[in-house]
């Protein structure tokens, strides 16, 4: 964590200053990209699940991630003042952040999207943008518009042979993401609610007819998606060391890019897309220019949507007439 506190615009991951051999540099970028990709994956899953079920780009999803990070910070601050040990703080911060983000996701759906089912397509999207603007400003006014330092919660340990190339927090982030992704995949595939979700995604009316409570499924989708974003929010905040109310906007768009890249609506697609985006960004900023960090992601987004809107794993939609 040699780069803690660098007040760059709002980077997701700040690289180490130490530049070793070319190979080491490559590996450093690679692991950095993997970490980025992991965080994008955690957020992108929420986008893709919600889109799969109600065909809505949940614009406020980035804000859920941001609220997760803030909740994590608040928990860490309170417990830190009470003198809890680092690792306990991390676990508790993640748990509380998950609960709160899930609650926010649930409430947002009830307020901003549920009354708009059956409205023209543009309406819930505009409502989502309004919600996103509202939440950003809510956090800004209730907390602060400055960058807040985030304590380093992930314990430091040495990885033999890779010192200086990969940090312990990167290891933890990637490991947690892998576990979460596997768990989610199993849940969607074999869990009762997971099956109900897949059924609802395919045909909402039919799912309703066979007795699936669509409202419950939609709420559950928001809750799960928001929880994943909260995990990502706390982990990355601890890794970078600072947060502000605006982090959800950029991260949200990038995660959305990842979801689209993989094929929106597809869960493995979101993971793959996130990985590709994370690595692309890491190598592009490492080898080309760091000034245009965000431009790479946006350009990639524009290019995919123009040339392959269905993404890597998405299905080409057939028009119903």
């Amino acid at each position: 964590m040699n780069s803690r506190g660098q007040a760059a615009a709002c980077p997701l991951i700040v690289y180490g200053n130490r530049i070793g051999t070319l190979m080491e540099y490559f590996l450093e970028l690679f692991f950095g990209g993997l970490t980025r990709g992991s965080i994008y994956a955690l957020i992108a899953l929420g986008y893709t699940m919600v889109y799969g079920i109600i065909e809505l780009i949940n614009f406020a999803h980035g804000e859920i991630y941001m609220i997760g990070a803030f909740t994590g910070l608040i928990v860490a601050g309170v417990l830190g003042a009470l003198g809890f040990p680092g690792f306990a703080i991390l676990v508790l911060a993640v748990i509380v952040a998950v609960i709160y983000s899930a609650a926010y996701g649930f409430t947002i759906e009830k307020i901003a999207y549920k009354p708009l089912r059956g409205a023209p397509r543009l309406s819930p999207l505009i409502s989502a943008i309004g919600m996103s603007i509202f939440l950003q400003n809510y956090v800004m006014l209730a907390q602060t518009s400055d960058f807040l330092p985030f304590p380093s919660l992930i314990p430091e340990f040495k990885i033999p042979g890779l010192t200086g190339i990969i940090t312990s927090s990167e290891v933890v982030i990637v490991a947690v993401t892998v576990v979460v992704c596997v768990a989610l995949t199993l849940f969607i595939k074999y869990g009762k609610l997971g099956k109900a979700m897949r059924a609802t995604a395919q045909n909402r009316k039919m799912a309703q007819l066979v007795g699936i409570s669509v409202n419950t499924v939609i709420s559950a989708t928001f809750v799960i998606g928001s929880s994943l974003a909260a995990v990502g929010g706390v982990l990355i905040a601890s890794h970078i060391g600072q947060i502000n109310y605006y982090i959800g906007f950029i991260a949200g768009i990038k995660a959305f890019t990842a979801a689209v890249l993989g094929g929106i609506g597809s869960i493995p697609g979101a993971m793959l897309g996130a990985l590709i985006l994370g690595l692309t960004e890491a190598f592009a900023t490492g080898y080309v220019s760091s000034d245009y960090e965000d431009v790479f992601a946006f350009a990639l987004l524009v290019l995919i949507l123009i040339f392959r809107p269905a993404g890597i794993m998405g299905k080409q939609p057939t028009q119903k007439v």
């Binding site: 780009i57 509380v96 307020i111 009354p115 397509r121 603007i133 400003n137 946006f298 350009a299």
Partner: protein, 429 residues
Amino acid sequence: MNNNIKADKGKRPLAFFSAGCDSAAHALRRSVLVALWFMFLTFPIMVIKVDTVNKTIDWRWMNLLWIGIGSFVLSFVWRWLLERKELQKDQVSTEGPVERLLTSASSIPAAKWSLLAIVGIAALVFPHLAGMYQTNIMISCLTYVALGLGLNIVVGLAGLLDLGYVAFYAVGAYAYALMNMHFQIGFWTMLPLGAVLGAICGILLGFPVLRLRGDYLAIVTLGFGEIIRLVLENWGEVTMGPSGISGIDRPMLFGHKFGVFDSITFMYYIMLGLMILTIFFVNRLQNSRIGRAWLALREDEIACQAMGIDRTKTKLMAFALGATWAGMAGVVFAAKTTFINPASFTFWESAIILSVVVIGGMGSVRGVILGALVLILLPEYLRAFSEFRMLIFGATMVLVMVFRPQGLIRAKRKVYTYMGRKTAGAEHG
């Protein structure tokens, strides 16, 4: 949660109080639950403020009380509004109080013309009565009217959600700033050029992206808007980077250079003229063959194509025309402030313009004008609440979509009538 409305359509006393509930006691219980839920939800962010460096914690318990009371009261309003919306679903059209006033005013020609005359005279004498500060605010308000009306072509008429509208505004502003800096090109030359440049950019961006579905289009335009801003920020050799370009010439009138005070008045009249021109153009456009095609496209793309309308071409026209106004407004903006930097062209700017259109009323010229007046002037004059501006904009966008999708003033359509051999279009409410 608070919106599982039971379809209880009977009129009862205390309808507001017990809206959506079986009884007053039930309503009370639900509102208490809602209040508790929101107190739980907002607890960490509203109450606790931590300082992890000095390890201090600021507990703001009063906030919790306000949230509790606020959400308790608002949950009644929310349920009442939802129930009212259910009840009004079957009615063909319901006019809001503002609309009713406008309709009744415009149905009497004398009232209509005198109203227009009053507004016109007020607009003309405004800079002489109000001070420089007020005039400046009014100029920026008029800029938003023009931008709003431009975006209204894209969002309101053609139904294409453009979240990167500010990019075209930036193109206009930077084009004037750079041309003025390097080649001393004047405002009046640049105004039409800015419009053309906006249109060209609109076509260049629109061509590849317009075949995308609505929500993808929104994201791509958002991405494009951010790319433009990032390029402006990072391409220092050309755009002067984040520090921006200063010393941009103010407009002259036949070679006459104005002092600071007079030039603001002049700027006001330029903006007023541009706005009137915009209103005229948009009105003409929306009641034309092209305007009808846009509306049809918004309603059903497949049917539209089956009627022989070229989807891409029609969308492109809307996109380019919208961009034209943004380009012009950009030139005016650069001339007014004499200084521009990328910070003026963030996503927030797009969001504000979009809220002007959405809250005012998508597709409604009068709505967009009123929307800009309310949204831009209100925060300026109520300084105390200006920091809550975006918070309120965001919340209002959600509320408008849920309860009043047509906005403040619904779009008024020309009514075509056929009268034997003679046909005419008449305006009706």
